[in-house]
Amino acid sequence: MSMTGSAAGTDKRGIRELGAEEKVGWDAVPQGVVLTSFDELIDNAALVKPEDRSYSDFNSYTATVASWRVIKPVYNRDICIDCQNCWVWCPDTSIISRDKQMLGIDYDHCKGCGVCVEVCPTNPKSLLMFSEAVDNDEALASWPEKKKKAK
């Protein structure tokens, strides 16, 4: 799936539709439905960036659920102040930010809930919801002007 701006990502992010993983027999499924997050042991996952982690095939990171979404947030870099509000509030860790700089949206996992737009404090907002069918460049071209405060 495509990604807005210069957001980083691994080769494995959203590499397949959810449910398109290889099906194995009862003898090969993991005992107790225990799913490993990574293919290799990891020292401290919190300190390793997603693009550097060895996500396993059963990690939700490798599956795309983009088709669940009917409206999407579009991100406008020109207005954003990198306050990280959207990153904090996103319930699906689908705001990609590095070194406190907002990079874009993980469209493989964003469900289009609109929370990021709701919490964006800029005027106009740096994130707005558009129909999934609208092209992102088109959306950016139609961005609203700054609203004057009512006296």
């Binding site: 449910g19 099906k23 194995v24 027999g25 009862w26 003898d27 499924v29 005992q31 107790g32 439905v33 225990v34 799913l35 490993t36 997050s37 990574f38 042991l41 990891i42 020292d43 401290n44 996952a45 059963f58």
Partner: protein
């Protein structure tokens, strides 16, 4: 380090105390529990051991049995040795999470003191809670007295935690008749008991941060079936591990347990199949009848209720001289034949001998099952054997007041 608990070679313990001592000796990491009659003393005793420094693990008081088993599941997934106790309504409230524990392959030990299910509310012992657990994917062992409640609780940890098994295990005993009856019990020393069980070996534990894992994943029609098939195979295959653990226990203590216990079956013409403390009643009745009338009665009991021992039940019932078998179910059957009847019949149907089999419901809500009543039912089997068919209804009720109650008639004979 826990305080040393002094034990005598022979102690006078009721079933509850025996079970709680086995839990103490297992050095459990987490017990999450919500006490309920008649298993309350298991939890109460364990709480006292903890408060008085006899156990190092955590004791978590929760708000319900659902929470108790949920807490056990969380602690077991985290990588600890875990156990709890319950009965009846509490067992019913746990039912949802029992399936989680087995599906997640967490070797939790649950000591169940069997008690009737409401309504009408009743605190006495019958097997309706034990039967409620029969499809939950747990291993179910059944103790007939205090010594067995102690022994089987120790075995339960070793069986469930075996790396080829990794399934939760229930150890059942009968409410009041076993749980509150003080008997001589020969405990092992703490060291011997613990060494028999061994150190807990965590599998896929959540506290291993170098290998993060997801427990409790959702699966739909494309994966669920394979996982349930694998789980069922593990339960079926646990039979050999149960046999092996029982053999090791015999080696250690001289006390022998089998997945199917049988008494005087070698030359039996008629047999009674039943569970729990009633087995001891039935054995006494059979011995008396053999002396008094010469009727050759044998007793069969599935010590291991799940996985159901079709193999060994079949071995016991495939005897040329055996003509009639009665299966005794101590649980309201809810519009069917009793569970033991159904399963024993299924096992016996594929034998060469194919004895005729009938069903009795008995002892509901703690109604007494006497030696005389056992003998009456055994004599009735002799009548079936002589006639060559079931001369009564196939399902009857023992010890209930009112007009005779029975259902279905045989088409054989």
């Amino acid at each position: 380090m826990a305080e040393k608990f002094e034990l005598n070679e022979v102690e006078v313990w009721d079933g509850n105390y025996a079970a709680s001592q086995a839990l103490r000796q297992a050095q459990i990491d987490v017990v999450a529990a919500y006490p309920i009659t008649p298993s309350t003393p298991i939890v109460e005793n364990y709480g006292a051991y903890q408060a008085n420094g006899y156990v190092d693990g955590e004791f978590v008081m929760v708000e319900s049995e659902h929470a108790a088993m949920s807490g056990c599941i969380g602690a077991a997934a985290a990588g600890g040795r875990v156990a709890t106790a319950t009965s009846s309504q509490g067992f019913a409230l746990m039912a949802e999470v029992l399936y989680q524990a087995s599906g997640m392959r967490l070797p939790i030990v649950l000591t169940v003191v069997n008690r009737a299910l409401a309504s009408p509310l009743n605190v006495r012992g019958d097997h309706s809670d034990m039967y409620l657990g029969r499809d939950s994917g747990w291993i179910q062992l059944d103790a007939y007295n205090s010594q067995e409640a102690y022994d089987l609780t120790l075995c339960a940890f070793k069986i469930g935690e075996h790396l080829d098994v990794r399934l939760p295990v229930m150890v059942h005993q009968d409410g009041f008749t076993t749980s509150h009856k003080a008997q001589n019990v020969r405990p092992l020393t703490d060291e011997v008991a613990y060494n028999f069980i061994g150190d807990y070996v965590p599998v896929d534990d959540m506290l291993d941060f170098t290998r993060p894992v997801t427990h409790g994943a959702q699966t739909e029609e494309d994966w669920h079936y394979e996982h349930k098939a694998k789980q069922h195979k593990a339960l079926m295959d646990s039979r050999s591990v149960i046999d092996q653990v029982f053999a090791e226990f015999k080696e250690l203590t001289g006390r022998e347990y089998k997945r199917v216990e049988s008494y005087m079956m070698e030359d039996a013409e008629v047999a009674m199949v039943l569970l729990g403390s009633s087995v001891e009643t039935a054995v006494l009745a059979a011995k008396q009848l053999r002396e008094e009338t010469g009727l050759k009665v044998g007793i069969v009991s599935p010590r291991c209720f799940r996985p159901f021992p079709y193999d060994l039940i079949r071995d016991e019932l495939d005897r040329e001289g055996l003509k009639a078998v009665v299966c005794m179910d101590k649980s309201a059957p809810g519009g069917a034949m009793g569970t033991l009847f159904n399963e024993v019949s299924a096992a016996a149907y594929t034998t060469k001998a194919r004895p005729i089999i009938s069903n009795y419901i008995y002892g509901l809500g703690g109604r007494d099952f006497s030696i005389d009543e056992a003998k009456r039912i055994m004599n009735e089997q002799k009548a079936h054997a002589d006639a060559g068919y079931i001369t009564t209804n196939i399902q009857q009720f023992s010890g209930v007041r009112g007009p005779k109650l029975g259902f279905f008639e045989t088409r054989r004979g």
